[in-house]
Each structure stands twice: as C-alpha cells, then as structure tokens.
Amino acid sequence: MTRNTRNPLRDDLQIIASLIEKRSRVLDIGCGDGTLLQHLQRHHNVDARGMELSHSGVQSCVRKGLSVIQGDADTDLGDYPRQAFDYAILGQTLQATRQPLNVLKEILRIAHFGIISFPNFAYWRTRLHLLLSGTMPQNPYLPHLWHETPNIHLCSIKDFTQLCRAHDIEIIRALTPHNRTPSNWRDPLAIFMIKQRA
C-alpha cells in the first residue's frame, strides 16, 4: 500500500491538496513517505496524521516529524474515534483493500469528508488493451503484472458511483488530475470527495 510519491506533488495529490481547507485535521491513509502530509502541513497548516503499512514509509514519515501509525486500512481505522478528522484521504489505495466498502464506511465514520482516488478500470485504453491483447492491462496507474499486483478490487468510475448511491454516500466533488469532471471512458484516474448522507 506504499504510494510512490515524488517532489513536486504528483498531479492527483495536487488536486487532493486543493480540496483541503487550511488548519483542518487530516488523516492520510497509505501515506507512503509522507510527501502529501508534509505538503499539507507546510502549506495548509493542517494537523497532519498518517497511516502506512510499510516499515520504510513509516520510517521516512517519522524522520520528517510527521505523526504516522504503522497500520492497515482494512483493520486499523477502528482505532480512531468518530469524526476525529475533517478529511481522510485514501490515495490510490481503495483497490488494494480487502473490503473496500467497509473501508469507505470507516473513513466516513472517522472523518467528515473522504477523499478517494483510484485508477479507473473502464478507461478506454485499459478496455482496448484487454480487448486487443487479451492480457491484463498495464499503464502508469496500473503498473503491476497481474500476478504481483496488490490491486485486488479494481473498479470503474461507474462502479464507484453506483456503490456510493447504494450506500447513502454523497459525492461532493468528482475530479480528474487535470481538474475536469471525470468520464468513465476518457479518464485513467478519478478523485472523489464524499460524505455520509445525514
């Protein structure tokens, strides 16, 4: 669940950062080496917390002075109290969780807003790849070979929006890394800001 993070901020992380109010409380789940958290702490003055599975990620974060817990989105979000955060971010991690719906519900229990990004499996190049080559698609957002991918719950933008509708999850914003409204055909990655319907 380690996110590859480079400086300057990856496109999707910049969009995520733009959604976050200054001086808010933020949890980044699967925070990798803490690049986004450090950016938010410096430029948005947020109370930044992280969760990361990999030892090397936690180590990088701790060294940066970030407060990061070694943990797993599937099992350890229960350790946070209700509405402890304004935002909980799940960047390109949902598709790697064992129980995505449960993770989404936990996110909306501990935070007012969830910010979720994921690779769109219905992206036209992905569809074409499977159609023409007959092998599992690979692209910059799906870089792994089928037998070594951590992505066990891939979905499309349409799948995600249907899941939200079925479970009373309100979509506040939907964006692409290029700051457009995402299309199920056109876009390889989507970013959703969601909240639990009252």
């Binding site: 180590q59 974060c61 407060s67």
Partner: protein, 383 residues
C-alpha cells in the same frame, strides 16, 4: 563481589538529596530521599535539550559507559552515546535509579528516617507505585533546573514511567518514546511477577525482608525469580535457536537433576549473576509497582482521559516477537492517544528477540528512534 547494597554516601553516582517530604500513593510519606543519577552530554543555554532515560525493572542509572560494579557496558550502550541514536553530542541525557532501587536511590535497604532508628527499612519500606517513582524523578529534574524535558524515553517499566510523565506532567514533556510497554500490567504479567516474589519470600534467608544484618541473603529465591523472568524476556524462537535441546558439557543425559541442558546452565548462570548486583527486597517492591500500574484506573477507567491534557509528541514502539508486552498492548496506547487527539506515531519492529529486543542491537529500531528524535527536534520551538 561485594553485595550491591549502597547507601547514599557511596560515590558511584552523583546523588540528589530531596529534603521535602514526598507523599506516596499508598498514603505514607517519605520525609526525605536520595536519587542517584548519571548524566551525559551538555545542557544547552536554553536548557531545552534534556532527555530523561527511564530504566526497566532490573536496570539502573548506568545506561551507558562501563558499569562501575560489573565492569560491563551499560544496559543501553547501543543507544546512548556520542553519534548513537540518542546522541550525547547533541542532547543532555539523564538517567536516574528509580525510587525503591538498590543503586544509591532510597529503597528498602536505606536507613529509616528516624534518627534513633538507623536500621534499614527492609519490608517496612512503603509500597511504591510508578507514579511515586516519577514524582521523585520530577524533583531531580527540578533540581537540575530543567523546566521542560525535550524527551522522556524508556522501555518496559521505563515505558510505564514515560506514560506516567506524559500524563502527570504533560507540560514538562515535549516528546515521549514508549517502547515495549503497556498502560497496565496484564494478568499474565502479574502472574509471572508473583512467582518471582513467592520464590524470594520462600527463601529462608529472606527473614520477612529484614536480612540486611544477616550473613546470608535470599540469593536462591532472587535467582529463581530472575530465571523465571528471564524466560519471559525472550521469544520461544530465540531461546530455541540459542540452546535447542543441546546438552551442557556432556554427551549423554545424567539421569539426575544436574544442568544437563545448556538452557538450564544458562538460566542458573543468569540467576547467579543477578544476585551479585540486585537486592531481593527491591525486586519485590519494583515488581509490585509494575503490577499496580494502571493508567486507565487512575482516570476513572477510561484510558483516553489520561491523555486529555497531553500535547506531547508520542512515539510508541513494539517488537513483533515480544509476548510479555505484545503489540496489542502498544496499540491500546495508540488508540487512547488517538482518541485524545495526541500526535502519535507507532511502529511494530520485526524482531525475533522477544521483549529484550529493546535492549539489544536492533539497527532498525535504532534508526527509527534516531529519526523520531530528529523529526521532533525539527518541530521544537526552541533551538
């Protein structure tokens, strides 16, 4: 070797003498007490670079450097020193022998306060708590005119003191590292301690705790206590890898009760070594203090309440093969800190060395500790 019982007049360590009475949790009061301590490095001009290292059950103030009695390296020589994870080129490091200890701090072997009665306290010494130990340490820190410790660090019982510091004196602790510890002793922890205490009290030389004027001490009982405890500090895997079923200096079983197996010989050696440097009554008092430790209990049963006033930056560390203070206990600390919105980081370090891992050469743990201190220093308001 001489018996380790030390009065405050011995010059093993600098000794702070507190003459203000100390009210203890048990209701008794110590009219005055000594704390033996060691320091390394230099206090900066803002007095903001002090790190208090808290020792575990059988540790003492000699965290690093040569131990003056055993001539061995201090118990945390891997961690404390110039260019080590706790860098004494950068930090002023303090380590004091806990109240109840036997290395120069007031404990059951100390003379009673009454001028007419200078006999050692023995088992008449009041029963202590971790909070009592920390209150006594606070006096030392005040004496050193340090208002806020940059960090309080400790493993096992040392970790209990860390948690106590951060809850009792939150504004005086900038950062805290709680290693392989718990907010309360578990049933299993208490059980193992009880075996140790029973072994000591069953030794005919214990004399109800008044053995200091006797020629023989309850060494057998203390050695058995140490043997039991020592097993709890190791993982099953570590014990197996070290000794297996290997025989000690023989090819065949003796069909007797000699130390046939290497592990038996090792445990006997551990017990014999221990009695040379530790006091049986101190063992009783300190294990009791650990058993009584219950941070949630101090706060109406809700652990998160303990940390409500705490803004200390926390780092909690556990070791994967530690079954005495397992990761699940550390996660409870993390959960409570999260519930109180205290900044906390947590790592479970993969290790096969059991509870003792925090004392041993564990480079990954050492990198993490060093990294946390660097990150915390970066966020410290004072240079």
């Amino acid at each position: 070797m001489t018996h380790p019982l030390r009065s405050s007049s011995d010059s093993l360590s600098p000794v702070f003498h507190s003459t203000t009475p100390l009210a203890l949790d048990c209701g008794a009061e110590l009219p005055h007490f000594h704390i033996a301590y060691q320091t390394w490095g230099q206090l900066n001009k803002h007095r903001s670079n002090a790190i208090l290292v808290c020792h575990a059950l059988t540790g003492d103030q000699f965290a690093t450097g040569k131990h003056p009695l055993s001539q061995k390296d201090g118990w945390w020589h891997h961690v404390v020193g110039p260019d080590k994870p706790i860098d004494t080129n950068k930090y002023f490091v303090i380590c004091s022998n806990v109240l109840g200890g036997c290395m120069g701090t007031t404990g059951p072997q100390a003379p009673r306060h009454d001028k007419k009665d200078t006999r050692p306290w023995g088992s008449d010494f009041p029963v202590l708590t971790i909070r009592d130990m920390v209150r006594a340490q606070k006096r030392l820190i005040d004496h050193l005119t340090i208002d806020q410790l940059f960090c309080v660090i400790g493993g096992s019982m040392g970790g209990m003191q860390v948690l106590q510091w951060a809850t009792t004196y939150p504004e005086h602790v900038f950062a805290a590292v709680a290693i392989a510890t718990s907010t309360r002793h578990t049933t299993q922890n208490i059980s193992f301690h009880e075996i140790g205490r029973q072994a000591i009290m069953a030794d005919a030389n214990w004399h109800n705790g008044h053995y200091y004027d006797q020629s023989r001490k309850p060494d057998r009982g203390l050695a058995v206590a140490r043997m039991v405890a020592h097993i709890t500090y190791l993982s099953e895997q570590a014990l197996h890898q070290k000794f297996g079923r290997n025989l000690q200096n023989r090819h065949n079983l003796s069909y007797g009760f000699d130390a046939d197996f290497q592990v038996e010989s090792y445990l006997r050696y551990q017990g014999a070594q221990f009695v040379d440097r530790f006091d049986a009554n101190t063992y009783l008092y300190i294990t009791r203090a650990m058993d009584y430790f219950d941070l949630a209990g101090e706060h109406g049963g809700t652990l998160a309440k303990a940390f409500q006033k705490t803004r200390t930056r926390f780092y909690v560390v556990s070791f994967s093969s530690d079954w005495l203070f397992p990761t699940s206990e550390s996660r409870l600390i993390v959960k409570a800190l999260n519930a109180a919105a205290v900044p906390v980081s947590f790592t479970e370090v993969t290790s096969d060395k059991g509870h003792d891992a925090f004392l041993l050469n564990e480079p990954r743990f050492h990198e993490l500790l060093h990294g946390f201190l660097e990150g915390a220093a970066h966020h410290h308001p004072s240079p």
